[in-house]
Symmetry: C2
């Protein structure tokens, strides 16, 4: 019986490539393992698989009757459905320890590093298995993705060291260029309707009785949206009117410059100005260092609204 | 602030020695770690610490405000009290995955081997830290204890290999002799009143309206109780009469020969004879392979009683 190696729901590059890379390691050490995933590939992951010559893993969303190895998560809610009707036989992760329990002793290896790919790099070493060139490419991309090329505060020296070695194995001479290629794939906006871009990653909040919406686009370069700024702004106005919203924000986050050009449509922009100590002049305002909606954008605005 | 390394409640040799051995490894890699335990030493563990020149770790039963590393368990019920008011910063184990969760990524290393000592042996290697001679002695004893010198079905090749190397480091030339010394310490009966021995590890069961009691003594050699058999038998008769019991059993389990000399005091020994397909002739009967009260002694007897 095959063992299925699977990452979390809404798969990202680390989840998909770690399933592939760990299935390869299991096969190299004598276990019949198959990499699967729980949903469709995102544009970045698709680019990464294409680049190193892999096809998309099969989709598997139900663990009933199956032996599974969880990678990149240890939470029941993130795992395939009916996990209790299957059997978790291993867990490899780099997140906080979740609520998956087992009836038997298993191999559980979690480390506080920036990426599951970094843990896998070490497991290949411990098992004395050479990492195949193309698999090294996938693992490298996973670390670049999870650490935003070492810009994320979750980055550790182990992640950087792993990337150095993986780049050599994969024959990647310019890690920066690879990262840019990935980030560009991730920030693709061409041909997508403006309103879809607003709602790509969007949340509404109630702020002291006022409905405030906030979308975010993570971009490798703000020039990517230069030609559609007016379309976005007009779509934001529509979204504001349709939903009876007080304010609609769209974070155009420059992941390389580490800041956000914050587009604002509001009945009263003074709340936004107070929240981030800026002056909104025109469609948007640059807020240096703003990367996280959850941690940096919403709390000060809630405070400004007196929540 | 020190990090406290702690095994499970009712500490055994693996829990106590693993706390010591892992605290040593943490100190060797730059972390201020202190080994603690949650209760008094049992006779075997006391002998092991004495033999290799260690004093008993301090007792710590409350995790409030403390950073803790859990060894040999990952269950909240087995951990120090108020674990949610402290912080679990690492887990090293060889049991099924328990219900401890964390708010941050941590190092969690569990392996399906016979003993936490075996996992620690590998962690010393991965960290390129030489195991101190006396610490190697403790780790060796932990593996001998948990695997009953490789007789337990939980034993893996990794446990055997670890013991080979640890014995060399510790300067232990005769592992069998060390195991016997430990098992003798564990099976000490000298000077203990017969009734206390019956109740040392004892449970009552209701079998179809009949009260049936069963005690167990794990012994390295049945000769240890040769001179007190009559005392034990008379005490069993007392226990039977006092409690209005139908049957009282005392398992004299020979952990080396892997069987039990089953002492029987009963209104009707035919139930016992039927349960184990034996003939009770005198005070006791040998039942080959009987090691576990829970798995091997009680279920057939319940069946014989028509439960």
């Amino acid at each position: 019986m095959s063992v299925y190696v699977v990452g979390h729901k809404n798969p990202d590059t680390d989840s998909v490539t770690s399933a592939i890379a760990y299935a390869e390691l299991k096969k190299a050490t004598g276990t019949d393992a198959v990499a699967v995933m729980q949903g469709e590939l995102n544009p970045e992951t698709r680019m990464v698989l294409d680049k190193f010559g892999f096809s998309a893993p099969e989709i598997m969303t139900d663990a009933t009757g199956k032996q599974v190895i969880l990678v990149d998560h240890s939470d029941i809610a993130q795992a395939p459905d009916n996990l209790d009707k299957g059997e978790v036989v291993e867990i490899i992760d780099h997140h906080k320890i979740g609520d998956v329990t087992t009836n038997n002793p298993i191999f559980f290896c979690a480390k506080p590093v920036g990426c599951t790919g970094t843990v896998l790099k070490q497991l290949y070493e411990i098992n004395n298995v050479a990492i195949p060139e193309k698999v090294a490419g996938l693992m490298l991309c996973a670390i670049i993705s999870d650490t935003v090329l070492f810009k994320s505060p979750t980055t550790t020296d182990a992640d950087k060291a792993a990337c150095e070695e993986l780049a050599k194995i994969a024959g990647v001479s310019d890690m920066q260029a690879l990262a840019m290629e990935m980030f560009k794939a991730k920030s693709a906006v061409d041909g997508v309707p403006a309103k879809d871009l607003i709602f790509r990653d969007y949340k509404d909040f109630d702020m002291n009785g006022n409905k405030v919406g906030c979308g975010q686009l993570e971009l490798v370069d703000l020039s990517l949206v230069e030609n559609i700024r007016d379309d976005l702004y007009n779509a934001m106005k529509e979204v504001k009117e349709e939903g009876g919203r007080h304010t609609v924000l769209l974070m155009l986050t420059d992941i390389m410059k580490e800041g956000t050009d914050l587009m604002v449509v509001s009945d009263d922009p003074s709340y936004v100005e107070k929240a981030y100590n800026v002056k909104v002049d025109g469609q948007s305002v640059w807020v240096d260092g703003m990367m996280s909606r959850k941690k940096q954008t919403i709390p000060p605005l809630q405070e400004a609204f007196g929540c």
